[in-house]
């Protein structure tokens, strides 16, 4: 890294403000110089490529249209270590899986900017004849070669790269013709890093969001998306929604206008439907309060993100229910898993099956809405009462600057995330499932929830402890991590069997 690059980064004061154009140009130059394929990036050429794509291959347009038409689109995850394997995968997901949105997941070396190791992984994969990487090394292949992926399919494509360091991958991805990009500063830093500070993670995504806004200036409506799943481990809706609101405010600050919000399913039909609606409403509420009234924020529902059962038949129920929950909740898209989830990265065929099962489930439940159910209304009110005091406190701690407020709130434990590997969080909040199948907060840590609200959570969790005949303690949370992956003989045995 050159001294020049250090200084552009140093001159960039940390705040929620939009990065000035000239400073951003410097940041970009430094960034693109970090790996040879960076030199292939040309935003004007890329913008022209995007605009020449048919609308149905542009995710920004597709998400807006799906929302208008009340559709629930399907999208899998998936990435393999070589271009050839990735081409085959994407074609399969497009055709056999009938995916509406086709993904490219990057490998973990790429996510950690360890491109040299990724290079070795490509070679190993070619030698072994199977993927030794857990995703597609996009930076190593570079935008020109990667564009072949876009050309191979007849759907819009999205980059999935779980990392706090997306600067170069996003440059390559957008330049290659990907019209969607998943990831955000708060969510991914807390789910994917140990030492990285929240500030550093937010900065990196401010870069990415500023880049998306640059395309927007050039007339390309890219779809940016926030990954609300976090650690995927029993994250209650309020915490996922808080992350969505914060990351959406940060993105809007950089000029993003097409920003999806993801929510991992809790697997409770009512809680998930409530969460999907509350997420969009609360995000819009805080965007409006911050002066943004033109940000499109569709919600994507994610198939169960916690541990899966080691039984294909059980997993089929999770896959199908994942479609049901998304459709009933009115999500604009759903991200799918497969029956291989507990074992490893799915084959293209298993992935395609997961898509089709989900699609059928969506078809079956497409008419169902629960908004008028009293229980729904109770939970909708509850989740809003959960989110607002904390979100208001975050903004207050930053004196109105959400970037600064978020860093301080994480340090203080005001904003917290369960089961995170990141050292810059308290990681004291602890969720558990209650007697009625809702995810609740067992231990709020230092998060300033309303006492009344917490009383509801505690009451429900005590009901469960009582029903299960176990103490009201931390084990409620640990057993909730395993729950969904338990064999059926533990979950619902034949009740009256002989001894």
């Amino acid at each position: 890294m050159s001294a020049q690059s250090m200084s552009a980064d140093q001159r960039w004061k940390f705040s929620a403000d939009r990065i000035p154009a000239d400073l951003f140009a410097e940041l970009r130059r430094d960034n693109l110089a970090r790996w040879p394929t960076g030199s292939e990036v040309d935003v004007d050429e890329a913008a022209a490529f995007h605009k020449a794509l048919p609308r149905h291959k542009q995710l920004g347009w597709v998400m807006r249209r799906a929302d208008e038409e009340g559709r629930c689109l399907t999208q899998p995850r998936g990435g393999f270590g070589t271009l050839e394997l990735q081409l085959e995968l994407m074609r399969c997901l497009d055709k056999e899986g009938q995916a509406d949105i086709v993904p490219t997941t990057t490998d973990s070396y790429t996510r950690n900017e360890r491109w040299a190791e990724a290079e070795a992984g490509i070679e190993e994969s070619k030698k072994a004849g199977r993927s030794m990487l857990n995703g597609y090394p996009m930076v190593n292949y570079g935008p020109r070669t990667t564009r072949r992926l876009i050309e191979a399919i007849d759907k819009p494509a999205i980059v999935l790269s779980g990392t706090a360091m997306p600067r170069l991958t996003s440059e390559v991805g957008f330049a290659a013709g990907f019209s969607g990009y998943l990831g955000s500063g708060l969510a991914y830093t807390t789910s994917y890093t140990k030492e990285t500070s929240i500030e550093a993670g937010i900065r990196n995504y401010q870069y990415l969001d500023r880049l998306a806004a640059l395309y927007q200036e050039k007339g390309v409506d890219l779809h940016r998306r926030q990954p609300g799943f976090l650690t995927g481990t029993n994250v209650p809706p309020c915490i996922a929604i808080l992350t969505c609101v914060i990351d959406a405010l940060l993105a809007a600050g950089q000029g993003v206008r097409n920003y999806g919000l993801e929510l991992a399913q809790t697997l409770h039909l009512v809680q998930d439907a409530v969460a999907i609606r509350a997420c969009r409403e609360l995000t819009q509420e805080y965007l409006a309060a911050a002066g943004y009234d033109d940000v499109f924020t569709p919600v994507t529902s994610l198939h169960w993100m916690g541990a899966w059962p080691h039984d294909d038949a059980q997993s089929q129920a999770l896959v199908a229910y994942g479609g049901t929950l998304a459709a009933v909740g009115g999500a604009v898209s759903v991200t799918t898993k497969s029956t291989h989830e507990a074992y490893g990265i799915p084959t293209p065929q298993a992935n395609a099956e997961g898509l089709r099962t989900t699609r059928m489930a969506i078809y079956l439940a497409r008419h169902i809405r629960l908004d008028t159910l009293p229980e729904y209304r109770f939970e909708l009110d509850l989740v809003k009462r959960e989110v607002r005091p904390i979100m208001d406190k975050v903004l207050e701690m930053g004196d109105g600057d959400v970037a600064v407020g978020t860093v301080r709130a994480c340090e203080a434990g005001v904003m917290d995330i369960p089961w995170s590997p990141n050292r810059h969080l308290k990681c004291r909040v602890m969720p558990a499932r209650d007697a009625d199948g809702y995810l609740r907060i067992f231990d709020p840590g230092l998060m300033p929830f309303d006492a009344e609200v917490l009383a509801v959570h505690e009451e429900r969790l005590r009901k469960r402890a009582e029903r299960d005949g176990v103490p009201y303690d931390h084990d409620l949370a640990v057993s909730s991590v395993y729950e969904i992956s338990e064999p059926l003989s533990n979950l619902i045995p034949f009740p009256w069997a002989a001894e």
């Binding site: 973990s108 070795a120 030794m132 074992y343 490893g344 089961w419 995170s420 590997p421």
Partner: protein, 156 residues
């Protein structure tokens, strides 16, 4: 959950175990639950957390005079990350340290017997398939440590 054996035939509190998730892997949940469970069962635990390079395991094991290393790998690239792990230990003078590996060790759904053999060939004492519960790990540790005590009792 069935409880692990109460009287393992050796002193668990005299055994120190280093735990962590190897490589660029952030899957901390299972490793954390495992660490908590081992601690509860009486072992001394040194937790390195997620995203731990191979050499940090070895460094921590030397510093704490550990009796075993518990390597988690979930994200699929464990096969690359774990190569040469035993050699690193040996080079550092930890010839005999017990090393276990567990999680989703390879990319995709592969035959477990095959995967296990690959990791044993790399020098791990045991490898554990996805879905392993903490009780089974405790049982394995008990068996291996008790066996070692017997062996060293005989030797001396």
């Amino acid at each position: 959950m069935t409880k692990a054996q109460a009287t393992p035939g050796y002193d668990r509190s005299a055994k120190t175990l280093v735990t962590g998730v190897i490589g660029a892997d952030t899957h901390i949940v299972g490793n954390r639950i495992l660490s908590m469970a081992l601690e509860k069962e009486g072992f001394k635990i040194v937790t390195l957390g997620a995203l731990t390079p191979a050499d940090e395991f070895v460094k921590a094991a030397i510093e704490t005079a550990a009796d075993g290393i518990m390597v988690s790998s979930l994200y699929g690239q464990g096969e690359l990350d774990c190569r040469g792990f035993r050699d690193l230990c040996v080079e550092a003078g930890l010839e005999d340290i017990l090393i276990y590996v567990g999680g989703n060790l390879v990319v995709g759904r592969q035959d477990w017997a095959d995967v296990e053999r690959r990791f044993l060939d790399m020098g791990f004492d045991r490898a554990f398939p996805p879905g392993t519960r903490t009780d089974d790990v405790v049982r394995a540790l008990d068996a291996d440590f008790a066996e070692r005590e017997r062996r060293s009792a005989k030797a001396s």
